[in-house]
């Protein structure tokens, strides 16, 4: 319980620090924000109006205070271009990005964990070497390159085996779930394979470090086959490590998704962020960066709590 409170306090502090960093980063940019946002050909009146609208004349602490107050109410400001609320825009984009992240993660786990186990269970040195090469290649491929390869192989219109769409998201969105899901298959495979290679490597080394403690050997001595002992005892013992690994690969996952959204013309958070930067919509960018960072912090929090719940050795003595 004390751990939980401590960890939550840490989360809140980290969130505050992040908000401060995001806020200040956009304020200490060289030049006047209003001028940057209004663009090169804007009239002085337009710049003045913008400055007034953004409250840029007020002291920094006051601006930060009102931004935070807005955040607490779920108000991230309005976009410059359309005047929509940033929160609503982000929510729309998240409907593509989150399913993509989840699908990618599922692909990565479905590839990485079985291959990692197989790499440990392989009897022949040659088989083990093969898995090693597989992991190295998978881990070295950049998302952009992997995505292009999959497009060349499977995309409708351009692929050798044209079975999957590779451009954009159906206008009807999730009202046509089949089409929506289909549009995400190639992008999810791309990130999934790349992150899967990392998960495979981590699974392999986590299992090996468990095996080196002798617990797997002991389970075998009690009557399990090696395969049984690795899959039933080893995997369970490696679970806390694997949860941490999934947390670690999340950063890789999200960066991959950002690139992939642009490549596959999916209007998600990643491609949206690039658009907003292009339009110099700093209010939106500020909100989006903060949400992205907060998302990572939440994942970190969940990973730590799960990790702890899975390992009875932790927490037994200090709670």
């Amino acid at each position: 319980m004390r751990y939980l409170l401590r960890r939550l306090a840490l989360f809140v502090v980290a969130l505050l620090v992040i908000s401060l960093v995001v806020f200040l980063a956009l304020r200490v940019l060289p030049g006047d924000i209003a001028t940057i946002m209004a663009g090169l050909n804007a009239s002085p009146e337009r710049v003045a109006a913008l400055r007034d609208q953004l409250g840029l004349d007020r002291p920094l602490s006051e601006q930060y205070g009102s931004w935070i107050a807005g955040l607490l109410h779920g108000d991230l400001g309005t976009t410059m271009l359309t005047g929509q609320s940033v929160a609503a825009v982000v929510a729309t984009r998240a409907r593509i990005t989150f399913p993509l992240i989840i699908l990618g993660l599922l692909v990565a786990l479905a590839i990485g964990i079985p291959l990692g186990c197989a790499a440990v269970l392989a009897r022949k040195a040659r088989t083990r070497a093969f898995f090693q090469v597989l992991a190295v290649i998978g881990g070295a491929v950049p998302a952009l390159w992997g995505g292009l390869l999959l497009i060349l192989l499977f995309a409708k219109g351009s692929g050798i085996l044209p079975i999957l769409p590779a451009t954009g998201f159906p206008r009807t969105g999730w009202h046509t779930p089949g089409q929506a899901l289909l549009a995400l298959v190639l992008p999810a495979l791309t990130v999934g394979i790349i992150v899967g290679a990392s998960i495979m490597r981590y699974t392999r080394s986590a299992l090996q470090s468990v095996a080196s403690t002798g617990t797997i050997e002991m389970a075998m001595a009690c009557g399990m086959t090696r395969t049984d002992a690795v899959l039933r005892v080893g995997l369970r013992l490696a679970m806390p490590q694997l949860v941490s690994v999934v947390g670690l690969t999340f950063a890789e996952m999200v960066t991959g998704v950002m690139v992939i959204e642009n490549l596959f013309a999916l209007p998600g958070i990643g491609s949206g962020l690039v658009d907003d930067l292009g339009h110099r919509d700093l209010v939106a960018v500020q909100g989006e960066l903060f949400l992205l960072a907060a998302f990572f912090l939440v994942i970190g929090l969940l990973v730590d709590l799960t990790h702890r719940a899975l390992d009875p050795r932790l927490g037994a003595n200090d709670d």
Binding site: E217, M220, C222
Partner: protein, 265 residues
């Protein structure tokens, strides 16, 4: 159970670690295996259990009561492990499963080999705990909540619970203090004799060896250089390695004896 290994050779990654080992354990006999560190003792013990790491080459024969262990499929070996052959490990602190309670650890060999009812399982586990000198209130503890001696008692209980006919103990007391060492060896010897099982006992400690075994093999760089009744062998070792080991052990015992006296004074 009678064990005979003949022309046993073990090689890892092309390096021959054990060569031409002939070793016999008669029914109900307690046999010691000594030798300097790295001479291949653990490899021989693991070979008997089919516990060698993947990629190890084993040649020759290991005969367990008429069954040929070398080349046996892992599934068949698994059927022997825990049921016909039990193993006590050197360091229970890291080999016991940290997630299982004492009761679950001890129940594991029974669950893997026999279809017992819940009550029967519980009864057998509690009976084994009593025999191993584990108070019943420890049944729901996990390994990290036990002392080193208690952990090794759990290890012994796991090895013996399914009544195997052969116990292999690979330096089972090295991780313990000298007083606990003595208790654990006494426990192991009395449980093995009570069950009428045979035992292969690997150790560096010659006082333990004299106490726990009747017969003894000396291994040097993967070869057996000497064997004989334990008492006679310790009295007058014939081989150079045997002599060296006995000398070193005597010095160690003297030093440790002195240290213990100082501690008590």
């Amino acid at each position: 159970m009678a064990v005979v290994t003949d022309r046993l050779g073990i090689a890892i990654a092309g390096r021959q670690i054990v060569k031409d080992v002939h070793l016999e354990i008669h029914d109900g006999q307690r046999v010691g295996l000594i030798g300097s560190s790295g001479s291949g003792k653990s490899m021989i013990a693991r070979a008997m259990m089919g516990l060698l790491p993947p990629g190890t080459d084993v040649s020759g024969t290991i005969d367990l009561n008429g069954e040929q262990v070398v080349g046996m499929r892992d599934a068949d070996l698994a059927a022997l492990r825990g049921a016909a052959v039990g193993m006590v490990f050197q360091n229970p602190g890291i080999s016991l499963n940290p997630l299982l309670t004492v009761g679950q650890q001890i129940a594991l060999p029974l669950r893997l080999h026999y279809a017992l009812s819940r009550e029967e399982l519980g009864q057998r586990v509690r009976a084994m705990m009593t025999r191993a000198g584990l108070p019943e209130e420890l049944i729901d503890r996990r390994p990290h909540q036990l002392s080193g001696g208690q952990q090794q008692r759990v290890g012994i209980a796991c090895a013996l619970v399914a009544s195997p006919r052969l116990i292999i103990a690979d330096e089972p007391t090295t991780a313990l203090d000298s007083l606990t060492q003595r208790q654990i060896v006494d426990l192991l010897v009395s449980l093995v004799d009570e069950a009428g099982a045979s035992m292969l006992f690997i150790t560096h400690d010659f006082s333990v060896l004299a106490h726990a075994t009747q017969y003894c093999y000396v291994l040097d760089a993967g070869r057996i250089v000497e064997h004989g009744a334990t008492a006679a062998l310790l009295e007058s070792p014939a081989s150079e390695t045997g002599e060296r080991l006995v000398m070193a052990a005597q010095q160690l015992t003297l030093h440790r004896g002195k240290g213990d006296d100082d501690g008590r004074a």
